[in-house]
């Protein structure tokens, strides 16, 4: 079980990323289009004035059940331990054990 503060930090990052996603993308497109270097610098300054936590590279995947930051499966959004528990408890549709 991860600390609640860390989980909420991650949630804040997700919110900010969603909020500034379009702005960030349009600014980047503008930078790539404009040929003039000084103009590029100006737009880059705008880009840098956005909050840092809105950068998508700051996001980190966490298990939605326990908040564990490591050993997460992208397909399920769960860490390996919880994933296994849930499979054994018949909670994942379509998941079965192979045995032969």
């Amino acid at each position: 079980m991860a600390k609640k503060s860390l989980i909420y930090r991650e949630k804040k990052r997700q919110k900010l990323e969603k909020k500034y996603h379009l702005i960030r993308r349009s600014l980047k497109k503008e930078i790539s289009k404009i040929p003039s270097l000084s103009e590029k610098w100006k737009i880059h300054g705008k880009l840098q004035s956005l909050p840092r936590n809105s950068a998508p590279t700051r996001l980190h995947r966490r298990c939605f059940s326990t908040g564990r930051p490591r050993a997460n499966y992208r397909d399920f959004g769960l860490s390996g331990h919880i994933l296994r528990e849930m499979v054994q408890a018949c909670l994942l549709p379509g998941a079965t054990r192979s045995s032969w």
């Binding site: 939605f64 397909d75 399920f76 054990r97």
Partner: protein, 218 residues
């Protein structure tokens, strides 16, 4: 030393069916899982709060969730639904509103049905809760186990095994005690076995209860 495999996971796809029934794009699968977890947690919390106080146990055997494009069907299998429904008439509507609020789903309809199990004590979850209640009240563990097995025999099962692990009866050193009655063929895949693992917090520490029930399938 042999290790036991989880009998439910072992039999998935053959005699054991999944508790969630839906399809999703691979990208959206984890969203569906998250939703399922929220639904189950919300229902359990609600039942815990609103069940009649005298019994002290939830009595939920399992919660099945089926999803379609515009509908979520939830079936709650309870051993004693009267304890929940009797006091106030519109419990189910209230529960439905709670779950709806929790999910924030505007597009999809939500449908909750409560089904009564014909043999409550033939279900390991309910039995485990019963034993847990006994242990909390400091009934002797052997009496509790035997009482549970007695109840299960009345429910017409082919076999049952009950195991308690931990500081039993408050002893200094923890140990494992188990009793078996009838047949419990754990290695046979086509034998339908219901299983549950449950933890009890007592003043001496944590006890684990495991119950295997060989179901009479016809």
């Amino acid at each position: 030393m042999g290790q036991k495999i989880n009998p439910l996971g072992f039999r998935l796809g053959t005699t054991q069916s999944h508790h969630s029934l839906w399809f999703a794009q691979p990208k959206k699968y984890s969203e569906g899982l998250e939703e399922d977890k929220k639904i189950r947690d919300c229902i359990k919390n609600y039942v815990q709060k609103n069940i009649r106080i005298s019994s002290g146990m939830e009595g939920i055997a399992r919660i099945e969730i089926q999803k379609r494009i515009d509908l979520i069907q939830i079936i709650i299998y309870m051993g004693f639904p009267k304890l929940l429904i009797e006091d106030k008439p519109r419990r189910v509507e209230e529960l439905q509103m709670n779950v709806q609020k929790e999910l924030n789903c505007v597009n999809r309809k939500l449908n909750i049905a409560i089904t009564r199990i014909s043999n409550p004590y033939g279900d390991p979850n309910i039995l485990a809760e019963f034993i847990a209640g006994q242990l909390k009240n400091r009934v002797s563990f052997r009496k509790a186990m035997k009482k549970a097995i007695e109840l299960t025999e009345q429910a017409n099962t082919k076999g049952i095994q009950v195991q308690i692990a931990g500081r039993i009866d408050g002893k200094e050193i923890a140990r494992v005690e188990w009793i078996r009655e009838g047949r419990v063929p754990l290695q046979t895949i086509e034998a339908k076995i219901d299983y549950c693992s449950y933890t009890v917090r007592t003043i001496y520490g944590v006890l684990g209860i495991k119950i295997w029930i060989f179901v009479d399938e016809e």
